[in-house]
Symmetry: C2
DNA sequence: ACCTGAACACCGTTCAAGT
DNA sequence: ACCTGAACACCGTTCAAGT
């Protein structure tokens, strides 16, 4: 019964894995069907036998990363702890695969986004938020997460793939400092904080702010 | 002194205006240099004399819409009222030009994004948030806005440009209802609310949630 | 200084032809 | 059933040549 399903022979899984590897290595622009088929030592059109088109391939790659990220075994089982764990899991996954952030923020109601929304919604319910307010509360958390994801991806895109986080923030802080203090007083004032803040901590502070707002409403 | 600067003769402004019109009419994919040069009755390469490349053109188009959107003359001068006015102005602008949402969510620290951040930051300061927390508070608001912008743009992208908001939400609600209730209890439960909720109200509810969280912290 | 338009180096996708 | 690879219909961008 051992039909060929190993090293050789194309498969959807092999294609998705290769796509993820290429996206990780070279970012958004690195994934082309030509480069992909070269890497897989096959013809350009062969991929279309297993995958409908590039858009579906990107969705599959994104969903694969998300499925991994959402497989949390968080010790803290309180709804608040669960929500924080979901958010952190996503942040770390996007930090490791910045292209996922871009994908997420431009894909509405794709499988992956719906999964995230469901997970958050369940915990919002567990939090004791009244039925009529759960939809808004969960949406706020989701949109905040997706916005942060998009910015994270955008930051990774402008700098070359290897840039360290410190250099990245430093460069941004330098831009802010160079702005006219009269028209940009706020950016000028917080430029220092921008230079050496912790992205992850900042991200979680936003989650906590929304959670506080949800609690304050009752 | 009347050198030719009217109907004929290309200019950066005419190019940006034409680009905005094309993006409004056909969405993200409709803007190509070929179609643009046809519309402007000029050669493909002529545009490059006034604009560095497509990316710069998109930024200029986005910034033009944002500048308009941020020119608010809100009566309510309280910091909270100002923040709400900024958010609403952006929501309406993106609702009218969905491609701006996509642009915003994939452009970090472009001129437009910085302007928004500055405006929000100033009001966060006026709100009386301690200096050390202003950066996080303003970031949370910004990321939420950008996330909502991206989802808005994504929703517009999947359906054809003419689709009414009711049809759009109805289609989405139908998808949620069709999901397995065992694995997607939350989505199933809120599908009805999804079907007939008010996007604008939902968006502002998120802003209010974050503002409540900011106040609750003190 | 500004514009033309052919040419270059790419894309995603299709499809007859092979095995 | 699965794969090949040439071909098609596009892109953004460049650049010699024009005015």
């Amino acid at each position: 019964m051992a039909t060929r399903t190993g090293q050789d022979g194309l498969s959807r899984e092999r294609i998705v894995d290769a796509a993820i590897a290429m996206l990780d290595e070279g970012g958004d622009g690195a994934l082309t069907f030509r480069a992909l088929s070269t890497r897989l030592k096959t013809g350009a059109g062969a991929i279309y036998w297993h995958v409908a088109n590039k858009s579906e391939l990107l969705s599959a790659a994104t969903d694969a990363i998300l499925a991994e990220a959402l497989r949390s075994d968080e010790a803290d089982t309180s709804p608040r702890g669960q929500i924080r764990a979901i958010a952190l899991g996503l942040f770390d996954a996007i930090d490791e695969h910045p292209w996922v952030g871009g994908q997420l923020s431009r894909l509405a109601s794709q499988a992956g986004t719906l999964q995230i929304f469901e997970r958050i919604g369940q915990q919002v319910e567990a939090l004791g938020v009244p039925a009529g307010e759960q939809f808004y509360a969960a949406s706020a958390l989701l949109n905040y997460i997706l916005g942060s994801a998009g910015q994270n991806a955008a930051n990774a895109r402008v700098h070359e793939p290897g840039t360290s986080r410190a250099d990245l923030l430093g460069a941004e802080a330098a831009v802010w400092t160079s702005l006219d203090p009269a028209t940009f007083p706020f950016l000028h004032r917080v430029a220092r904080q921008m230079g050496d803040h912790d992205d992850r901590e900042q991200f979680m502070a936003g989650i906590d702010l929304i959670l506080a707002g949800i609690s304050a409403g009752r």
